[in-house]
């Protein structure tokens, strides 16, 4: 027990001393996950709303498929992206394996189903409330799709946040496609896994503390923004 506390104390020391190595890892984590989530939101929000609003054959199957994909194991996604990007793979010529770009792609693939599936649910609920009113005003499906995306914005902010939580916390996918290369593709989760196995509990705990603090900060900030905006728009 005392080992843990002393490791914890030295971990806080690392953070307080603004350790360059530590902050490089944190910076890359944020860059990769923010980019991945931004891309995933750009794809998943319109996609989920479209499945909710537009009537097309196989709509129910698509919705069920999105729900199922929410539980994709990160290591499997990592493996698939690895196969695509490896030298022998179809996209091998791009030379993206073991780069931050590959990590962004993998996290994006993990987050898109979460954003799309939760968006579909939220927009479908709102659509039930809005359908007759919007049709009465003369809105077609395309207009309804845009209107619902906007009017569901507070719920959708939480949806995107859930996606960010998934991205920043996952290890398997970035480990496989990034390779955990020091100063190149090492992020918080892969570093924690590595340092723990090496026995460097200080750095692992320091990173763990920062990871948790970051999750709290991001969701707290998003909640505050949402509350303020919701207070104004009702």
């Amino acid at each position: 027990m005392s080992d843990i506390w002393s490791a914890f104390g030295r971990a806080l020391g690392l953070i307080a001393s603004l350790d360059a190595n530590l902050f490089a890892i944190i910076g890359l984590s944020l860059k990769v996950s923010f980019t991945a989530v931004a891309l995933a939101a750009a794809i998943g929000l319109p996609l989920g709303a479209a499945v909710a609003v537009f009537r097309f054959p196989g709509r129910g199957a698509v919705a069920a498929f999105l729900n199922a994909l929410m539980g994709l194991p990160p290591v499997v996604v990592g493996l698939l992206v690895y196969l695509m990007l490896s030298r022998a793979g179809p996209l091998g010529v791009l030379g993206l394996l073991f780069t931050p770009t590959a990590m962004i792609v993998a996290q994006c693939l993990l987050v898109v189903p979460i954003v799309a599936a939760l968006t579909r649910q939220a927009v479908e609920d709102l659509w039930r409330e809005y359908a007759e009113q919007l049709r009465s005003l003369g809105a077609g499906p395309g207009r309804a799709w845009r209107t619902l995306l906007w009017d569901a914005r507070f719920t959708l902010a939480t949806v995107v946040l859930a996606g960010f939580g998934r991205a920043i916390a996952e290890v398997g996918a970035v480990m496989i496609v990034g390779g955990n290369i020091d100063h190149v593709t090492r992020v918080m989760t892969t570093a924690i896994a590595l340092e723990t196995s090496k026995g460097d509990l200080e750095l692992a705990l320091g990173l763990g503390t920062v990871l948790i603090a970051l999750s709290f900060t991001v969701s707290g900030a998003a909640q505050a923004v949402k509350d303020r905006a919701q207070g104004r728009a009702g």
Partner: protein, 242 residues
């Protein structure tokens, strides 16, 4: 008066709407023409709301026909009518933006929307609340906003489904005054209510529905003073119908 050709009359011919085996609307036939304020009266479950939704095109009849005179002509009947619901949906934006939205959907040029919307809010006495979030308005203000949103479209026909059912007397009075003003501007009013007193105040003619059928239709004065059908007589006397 109107430059555009009228979409009225609306003719319902033996219209049926059924859910499973239950014929909720059971062979409705009537004609709605320009002029009088038509009030569709009847107890709960008579099919008043369904009748309005059928007329407005929100649901399709299982059998029978609804025909607007404008059908097949140059005017699109769908765009010349509007509806105000018992519990209107307020979009999550300002009161003004709610009215602007309706105008935008109906293809009003962007530069004209704001002025038209402000004028519509002014007519229902909400100009001072234009920038307020629509969802933060009181129930009565929301219903007036719904009326402004519908009225701004300059519909030839305005359907109103129990527009004051959730409102207190003061808000009811305000809404009824607006309905009168809409009527005065040349819009045909078709409204449902289960409130006898309101029907007396607003109706020029009454369609009395019971169990999804049209039981009686008469000018308001005749309906209230000399009802013909036993159901209407009982309803006016305040007896319970089922």
């Amino acid at each position: 008066m109107r430059a555009v050709a009228s979409i009225l009359p609306l003719v319902l011919d033996n219209v049926v709407f059924a859910v499973g085996a239950a014929r909720l609307i059971d062979g409705l036939s009537f004609t709605l023409d320009r002029g009088p304020r038509t009030v569709i009266l009847g107890p709960n479950g008579a099919g008043k709301s369904l009748t309005l939704r059928l007329c407005h095109g929100l649901i399709a009849p299982g059998a029978g026909r609804l025909t607007w005179r404008g059908d097949g002509g140059a005017v699109s009947p769908a765009r010349r009518q509007a509806m105000v619901f018992q519990s209107p949906v307020m979009l999550r934006r300002s009161a003004l933006a709610n009215v602007v939205y309706g105008l935008a959907v109906n293809g009003v040029a962007r530069r004209r929307r704001r002025d038209l919307a402000m004028a519509a809010l002014d007519r229902v006495g909400l100009a001072n609340l234009a920038e307020r979030s629509a969802r933060a308005l009181s129930t009565g203000e929301q219903q007036r906003l719904a009326l402004a949103r519908a009225w701004a479209l300059r519909p030839e026909v305005l359907f109103l489904d129990e527009p004051t059912a959730n409102l207190d007397p003061a808000a009811t009075r305000a809404v009824e005054a607006i309905i009168d003003a809409v009527h005065g501007s040349g819009t045909k009013i078709v409204m449902t209510t289960h409130d006898l007193a309101q029907a007396r105040r607003l109706a020029d003619e009454v369609l009395f529905l019971h169990h999804g059928r049209l039981v009686e239709r008469a000018p308001a004065e005749a309906f209230f003073n000399r009802p013909v059908s036993p159901e209407a007589r009982a309803f006016i006397k305040g007896e319970l119908l089922w």
